[in-house]
Amino acid sequence: MLSRFQSFLKEEFKGLPNTDEVTDFKDELLGNLMDKAEELKAKDLSEDEIFQQCVQSIDGYKETLKELKGKPALVRSAKKAANSLLYALMYFTLVIGAYLAVSFVTEEWRLTWLIIVEGAFLFTVGLLGSLSVKAFAKKKYLHSRALAVPISAILVTGVFLAVSMLMDLWKISWIAYLFLPILIIIVDLIIGAFSRPNKIIVPESIALIMLLSVMSYVVLGILGILSWHPYWLIILGGALISLGILAFYLKKKL
């Protein structure tokens, strides 16, 4: 029934501007149609009868559709875009101002260009982060989780560049990228916990534990903090913990 209503609404909304207001209205109508269908199921009607009664019940929305068709969405979008551009310009003016100020004071021109790069990274992370939060608020959890990947990648790249340039640790700082999959999984787990509050996210938790144990072993080994043997036991420990979690979850399910 959901897909049938979705196809119906797709036809009804043809020609309308692709704005938030229109999308929200369409989603609201879909919710109303599904609620009505749920109520009619109890009346022992056929699927076709339920569908017909439901679409007839929203006949009155056609006036609102006409109103939305006539709205100057382009003008509203242009105003929104102009505001966003203004904020972006203000932000980059501040970043360039900071770069010039620090450069003139410290005279470290070969390092201070990093301020502009990190500023650009922060801007991108902020933009993607706000899109992710917006998607989360609209319960589009897959979009929200997908955006976590580029956000994590940009954050790690920012850390890598800062550590490499400021501490001259180019030979080691690449290790930051080893933590990228861990960061992605942690962010995904957090979003998942909010989107599915009553469900334990077992596969992601196991992946995180295994990745953490392997990364810890590799990083601590590369840095010379722990020897390769017998500290491979860290990975074995991670595997045992993962098996424990899986066994506990399966026992709970059965």
Binding site: M1, F5, E28, G31, D35, A37, G60, Y61, T64
Partner: protein, 113 residues
């Protein structure tokens, strides 16, 4: 005998605000509540409710958020704002005053009907 159009004209907003003071709700549920509380004699079209929602949201009387609906669809919930509560209070006082005057005019003061 659904003479709903005449009875409700001008009062749909107040009725919606009153229902939302009790708890947050969504369009379909509000429509059903009005029909139930109106004892089947009053019916409000979904389109009227939706138009009222949009108007009141623009005026800052309502806030909205999304929740899970039936069968994978989303549901748009409405909640009343502080401004909405103040407007409801004022409209309710207005209604009680009008009701008193109409009672006097139609039923007639202390006289029996």
């Amino acid at each position: 005998m659904a003479q709903s159009g005449e009875f409700l004209r001008g009062h749909t907003d107040t009725i919606i605000l009153r229902l939302l003071i009790d708890k947050d709700s969504y369009g379909y549920e509000i429509s059903n509540n009005i029909t139930e509380l109106g004892q089947g004699l009053i019916e409000v079209k979904d389109a009227t409710i939706y138009t009222a929602f949009r108007r009141m949201e623009k005026e800052g009387l309502l806030a909205t958020y999304w929740g899970d609906g039936v069968g994978g669809a989303r549901r748009r919930y409405y909640s009343i704002t502080e401004k909405g509560r103040e407007v409801y209070k004022a409209k309710k006082a207005e209604w009680l005053q009008i009701k008193k005057i109409l009672d006097n005019l139609i039923v007639g003061g202390n006289k029996n009907a």
